[in-house]
Symmetry: C2
Subunit: 219 residues, 2 copies
Amino acid sequence: MMTSPQPSSEELTARQQAVLDAVLALMVEEGGDVTMTAVARRASCSKESLYKWFGDRDGLLTATVRWQASKVRAGNYDRQKLDASALRDSLIRFAANWLSVISSPTSIALNRFAIGEAGTRGSNLGAIMLANGRFAIGERVKPLLDAGRDAGLIAFDDTETAFRSFIGLVGRDVQIRLLLGDALALGAAEIERDAARAADQFFTLYGTGAAPGRNKTNA
Amino acid sequence: MMTSPQPSSEELTARQQAVLDAVLALMVEEGGDVTMTAVARRASCSKESLYKWFGDRDGLLTATVRWQASKVRAGNYDRQKLDASALRDSLIRFAANWLSVISSPTSIALNRFAIGEAGTRGSNLGAIMLANGRFAIGERVKPLLDAGRDAGLIAFDDTETAFRSFIGLVGRDVQIRLLLGDALALGAAEIERDAARAADQFFTLYGTGAAPGRNKTNA
DNA sequence: AAAATGCCGTACCGTACGTTACGGTTCTCT
DNA sequence: AGAGAACCGTAACGTACGGTACGGCATTTT
């Protein structure tokens, strides 16, 4: 993991992208058997090419994490006319999208890898996952929260604190349970329901009178 | 990992406990270099003894997880006279204890290990962590919530759902950030403050008129 | 006291895997 | 068409590590 060529995620040939997709597929299905030989066989390429393109195993894994991160860019949810209903809808969509991401097999496998490497060396995989996961969604939600506050729909002192409460209401214990192997089935219906519940609870905590969800949702 | 002797956590000699503490120390400080040779050197014992006592490497790791789990048993918080203040105090103590546990270096290292193994084989480390962490605390908090409901202090339909909201408000994104290597300093003061905030937010969501924390705490 | 048991330290074995090397084939450029 | 690069498939090498065997020392048992 010293000085690898490390192509910067933008300058990846289709062949190399196919290799990284093969790595993702291996991570998801087998669970841990991401050996260089297995990758080469799965991607139908030679190990020599793997080392030429990605330097070493760490470079390949890092490139895989970056590659997946570059694929999960989502919309920005900024809207001009922000009334209570629109704010609630945006929060629900954010929550549903977030739940979908963290419960996807790819995300689970990738986070497992990053967490496993986070303990060993000065690996930056964990930082990459955080930057493209938790922090990226924060930077996209917080402007929405600020807009809601400016519109008088919600009230809080610190945007970061409010957002962390929101993400707590959305995620709860889902991610850690999935990472530890709990068979937590999260279908589309549950995701929509949980997202709406989280948004309504958020309004109960931070909403002003003008916002929806003032009634407690003791579901 | 087949049929290991697997001493049942209670019948551990002091020598064996010292070995497991050595494993924990290695997990925490080195991060991943928990090799049988390293454990033997650290604990000043022979590898032969490791295999005699714990069967194989999986048995050693499983015993370590159980050993750590047996050390974090906490009080049961059941009290007879349950008024609003006592319920709030108990919830705060639960939250603070939970935050202390999940932010401790030992818990972080152990969860990293369990998560790393959860992907590879049919490892039960993740299940053990869940049983002794997330689920154990749930079984201890839910009676308290039920008692609070019986006393008319809080209201909800499903205890499990209410508890999951509580744990979401308490933990938020702390655990995943720590697991991914984020330098999230969580001192005693922050833990107490976050625990109180989570408890008050929980009362805002689920409290009846008789409970404290009815005012929104937009901190 | 002699035998036996338990355990430490170390050497050893087999395998898995990261990494390198190389022959043969396909694609590219002129 | 021919030269050269890129690349596939596979073989080979070195190391790390899980697991086993054995000699020597200490403590216990008879």
